[in-house]
Structures are given as structure tokens and as C-alpha cells.
């Protein structure tokens, strides 16, 4: 297919227009307003040469649409984070993220990639950062491609210590220091204006396996060592993962580990955590 290139003047116009779209909205008034004085006069001049103010107002429609469409997309992907940070602060972080990583492709959901790291650089509080990781996991697990949970053959089961397990894209391991998964459920079900305070930090971390079942997402509680094992299994052969887990255990834990590890592995298979196994 041959696709004729655009004329140079159109490319130049589109470059100016794109720059106008990405002009950050002004926050100084306490509202998000288009900073129309920052628009390129050359662009303003080709819209309404006779009336620059009207021209700027017309361009501002696109400028606002650009930002609000992307803010809305991110708020949809990170509902708990947006609620914890508040929409003003959330949008501020989103703006910085989008300036650093503007959209590049047809999939608007791709704007969420790297947002957790952007929030980390923005020094948001620990609970909001944890919420962002949880939101990202919910989004990725829900929208994962169809996955058939792997059923291990007797031969695979026999050679399992040498195998590398492939984690299903439709599961994620969540770490929680606040009751954020429950709060997220309430946020989704509530009015956006409802007050949903964050409860105090837990004394100890809680871990969950988030798994898609049909069109629903379910949470299964994981013991801390169980979560650790599942994470180790995603990066190394089973025998190496078990050794690594054992190395971090106390002598008392080691006594129970063989039986527990077997039970955890069986449970992970039942929960559909694995998409397959590879043998070198």
C-alpha cells in the first residue's frame, strides 16, 4: 500500500496545533483554565486572523478536551488513587506524567503505563502509591487476554522442580498495608462525592491473589510466605524458588515449609495462577 505523505505546510500546522493541545492548563486560579496567552501566534493567526481573542477561545476547546479526556482515562484506570489523592492533586500528577510520556498510539489505555512510577517520582504518600499499584493490577488483570489455567500433566508434575512456571496474565499478587482492596470496592460502588476515609495502616502487611474468573475479579488471601513463593516462582525454576524461600525462613518455619510449600503450590494451581510451565 503506498500512502502519499502530507504536504509540509500541513505538518507544520499540525506541529503547532499539537503543541497547543499539550499546553498545560493553568491552575493558578484554583480551576483548570486554558492558558491561551501561551498559544503560538502563528497558529492563532490561521484560525481567526481578524480576532485573536475569539481564535484563542476556539483553540482552547481543543486544549481542554485534550487534557480532560486523558485525565478521565487515567481516573478510570486509577479510581482508588484518584479518590485518595483528590481529583485536583491526581490531575496535577497526571499532567506531569502526560508531559513526560505523552500518548503515542491509538490505544488510550496505554497512557496508564508508567503512571505508578510517575506518582512515585511525584512523592505522593505511601498509601496513594500502594493504591496506584493495586489499581494498575486490577486494570491489567481484568483486561488480560483469555487465559486457560494450566493443568499439570503427571510428567510435568514429576519434573516440576526443574520447571519455570509462567504466571497467568489474569492474576496478580497484591501487597496491602492499608485495607485498600476493600476501599477500592467501596469507591467503585459509591457516588464520586461520597466521603470514604482511609482507615489506619495495618500492623502487618496483607497479601492477596487477585484473579479473574469469567467477568469477575476475586481476591484470595495469601500467607506472607505464600505470596513470597508465588513471586519467586515467577522469576526462577521451582527448586530455586523453594531454596530461596527457605533461606529467608526462621528455623521454626523451615520445619513446616515442605508441607506448606506443597499446599501453596497446589492452591496456586487451583486458583489458576499459572498459564504454563517451561523446562530448559
Amino acid at each position: 500500500m503506498s500512502w502519499r505523505t502530507s504536504p509540509a505546510w500541513l505538518l507544520e500546522l499540525q506541529g503547532r496545533f499539537g503543541q497547543m493541545l499539550r499546553t498545560p492548563l493553568d491552575r493558578s486560579s484554583g480551576e483548570l483554565r486554558a492558558a491561551t496567552h501561551e498559544y503560538d501566534p502563528a497558529l492563532v493567526g490561521v484560525v481567526r486572523p481578524d480576532h485573536a481573542e475569539a481564535s484563542r477561545a476556539q483553540l482552547a476547546v481543543y486544549n481542554r478536551q485534550y487534557w480532560f479526556r486523558l485525565f478521565t482515562a487515567l481516573q478510570g484506570m486509577f479510581p482508588l488513587t484518584a479518590r485518595l489523592l483528590g481529583f485536583w492533586r491526581f490531575n496535577e500528577c497526571a499532567e506531569q506524567h502526560l508531559l513526560e510520556q505523552p500518548p503515542r498510539g491509538w490505544d488510550i489505555d496505554a497512557v496508564g503505563a508508567g503512571f505508578v512510577d510517575s506518582l512515585s517520582r511525584a512523592n505522593v504518600d505511601e498509601a496513594a502509591l500502594e493504591a496506584a499499584r493495586i489499581d494498575a493490577a486490577y486494570h491489567d488483570v481484568f483486561h488480560a487476554p483469555p487465559v486457560v489455567p494450566h493443568q499439570f500433566s503427571p510428567d510435568e508434575a514429576g519434573r516440576l522442580p526443574l520447571g519455570r512456571l509462567r504466571r497467568s496474565q489474569a492474576v496478580a499478587i497484591l501487597h496491602e498495608h492499608w485495607p485498600l482492596c476493600e476501599l477500592r470496592r467501596r469507591v467503585i460502588a459509591s457516588d464520586p462525592a461520597a466521603l470514604l476515609p482511609l482507615e489506619p495502616r495495618r500492623a502487618e502487611e496483607r497479601c492477596w491473589l487477585l484473579a479473574r474468573d469469567g467477568l469477575r475479579l476475586g481476591l484470595a488471601p495469601l500467607a506472607p510466605r505464600e505470596a513470597e513463593l508465588l513471586e519467586l516462582l515467577s522469576g526462577m525454576p521451582v527448586a530455586a524458588a523453594l531454596s530461596s524461600l527457605e533461606a529467608g525462613c526462621s528455623p521454626e518455619e523451615r520445619l513446616q515449609l515442605p508441607a506448606q510449600a506443597e499446599a501453596w503450590l497446589s492452591r496456586s494451581v487451583r486458583l489458576g495462577a499459572w498459564a504454563g510451565v517451561d523446562f530448559d
Binding site: 504536504p7 498510539g105 489505555d109 483469555p146
Partner: protein, 273 residues
């Protein structure tokens, strides 16, 4: 040969907020077909595909894209066009449509439908590209007219002349958005009926109807967030009575329950009488 919709067909844009009501519907809904936003189904999300399968087993499905970037500087990636063609084949779409606009340039994607100057030089460019897209898809391809908030100067031709010539030269079709004609007519001060008069309605694959909102500065915005305005219904009635075409209601913000959206769609039949 792709399926063909009846000119009297009434369709609704498929939206996530209606998925549950669709799945729970006990009887066939009073709608002849659904339109999906192509990009929402080009990936491999299992829930998206599940809902698509449910709909396509019961209703015809047409594709409407927002990411082709017809007037962008670079051709759509082969990957994008291949996915689009595959999706169209999968649902056996009667037709595929996207917009006469650009959505990104210089490596950026703006996720908006952006206008280009209406000049003869771009007629040839757009027509040639639209023809290539239609050939790649192997089924009718329609171009939608935009709602626009700016018009570039000097305007060497009217928007309707530009639009009609692109469709004619490209051998493609109109995906005529009646609400967009009205919104742009108010924003740019032209007669929407003059616009309509320039369109060869026999080449209209489908018309869109939707609601709009007046912004603070008086500019009308194509928000798709409320019922269709009476002036848009009048314009629609004038067009449909001249030559009928399938009609689709879009609703993208403040989306009402499915029943309310279908009731709004049903008003199209009253307008045709």
C-alpha cells in the same frame, strides 16, 4: 459480500455501562444493530471480546473508529489496519467508518478528532488514502464529518464541498453525522441545510445523531451527553425523508440506562413520519 443494513435500521453505540443490561435482557431489544468503537476491540482484552461475542451473535455490528488518523503525516501502521480488517471480518461488519480528520502528528497521538484546512490539495490526499483503507478492509468504508470549533483561513472551499469531493474522488461513503453538521453550522455560521444539500445521500452508509452542549463562550460542543436537540431532529428528518439511511444514536457521557437510550433512539421513527 458484507451484510447490508436496511435504510430504516436503527442502531445504538455499544457502551460499557450498558453491558450488564444487555446481558440480562430477556427479550430482543428494540434495536436493529450496534456500533462499536473499533479501538476498544482491537486489543486482546477477554471481557471486551466476551461482550462483543454476545452482541454479534444477536445483532449486526458495525465498526466506528477514532484512531485512523487519515490526515496524519504517516500512514496507519500495517498492524493497525490488519487488526481493523480482522475485527471487521470477525463481526462480519456491514461497513467500517472513521473520521475525515487527523488525530496525531510528529509521533504524538492526541486522542481527539482534529480538523484540517478545507483545501483542494487535501481532497486528493484524503480521497486517495480513504480509497486505500477501503480496499484494505474489503468492505464499504465511510468517512464522518467532524464537529469543529475552529476553521482555518484562508478557506478555499466549504467544508461540505471538501467532504463531498473526498468521498466522491475516493469512491468511499459518507458516515454522516447530523449533529456534527448542526454543531459546526452554529460555530461557523453556515446554513446546515445548505450543507445537507451538498451530500449525495445515496452514498450514506449511516447517519449519527447525538446530543450537544453549549460551552461557556457560546461555542457548541459535541458532547454526546444528552438527548438529541430538536433542531438536529429537524435536520435529520429533512435528510432521511429525502433518501433513507440507517440511523445510529451515540451517547458517551452521562449515559442513561439502556431503556432510556433506546427510547431516545425510537424518536427517530417519529421524525421520519
Amino acid at each position: 459480500m458484507p451484510r447490508v443494513l436496511s435504510p430504516s435500521a436503527l442502531g445504538l453505540g455499544l457502551r460499557v455501562s450498558h453491558h450488564r443490561a444487555l446481558l440480562e435482557a430477556e427479550a430482543r431489544l428494540p434495536v436493529d444493530y450496534f456500533e462499536i468503537i473499533s479501538e476498544n476491540f482491537l486489543g486482546d482484552s477477554q471481557p471486551a471480546r466476551y461482550h462483543l461475542d454476545w452482541v454479534k451473535e444477536r445483532y449486526p455490528v458495525v465498526l466506528h473508529g477514532v484512531g485512523l488518523n487519515l490526515l496524519g503525516p504517516a500512514p496507519p501502521s500495517a498492524d493497525y489496519l490488519d487488526r481493523l480488517a480482522k475485527l471487521a471480518d470477525y463481526v462480519d461488519a456491514p461497513f467500517v467508518s472513521d473520521h475525515l480528520c487527523w488525530t496525531g502528528a510528529h509521533g504524538y497521538s492526541h486522542h481527539d478528532l482534529l480538523p484540517a484546512p478545507c483545501v483542494p490539495e487535501l481532497v486528493e490526499l484524503a480521497a486517495e488514502r480513504a480509497a486505500l483503507v477501503q480496499r484494505h478492509l474489503g468492505r464499504p468504508f465511510g468517512l464522518e464529518n467532524l464537529s469543529s470549533y475552529v476553521a482555518f483561513e484562508p478557506a478555499l472551499m466549504s467544508e461540505w464541498e471538501f467532504y463531498a469531493r473526498v468521498v466522491e474522488q475516493g469512491g468511499v461513503h459518507f458516515m454522516l453525522d447530523i449533529n456534527n453538521i448542526y454543531v459546526s453550522s452554529r460555530n461557523h455560521g453556515f446554513d446546515p441545510y445548505q450543507y445537507l444539500g451538498a451530500i449525495d445521500l445515496s452514498r450514506v452508509l449511516q447517519a449519527h445523531i447525538a446530543g450537544h452542549t453549549a460551552g461557556p463562550s457560546g461555542i457548541l460542543i459535541d458532547t454526546h451527553d444528552q438527548p438529541v436537540a430538536s433542531a438536529v431532529w429537524s435536520l435529520y428528518a429533512a435528510a432521511w425523508r429525502r433518501t433513507p439511511f440507517p440511523t445510529l444514536l451515540e451517547w458517551d457521557e452521562r449515559i442513561p440506562p439502556l431503556g432510556d437510550a433506546l427510547a431516545e433512539l425510537a424518536k427517530a421513527e417519529e421524525q421520519r413520519a
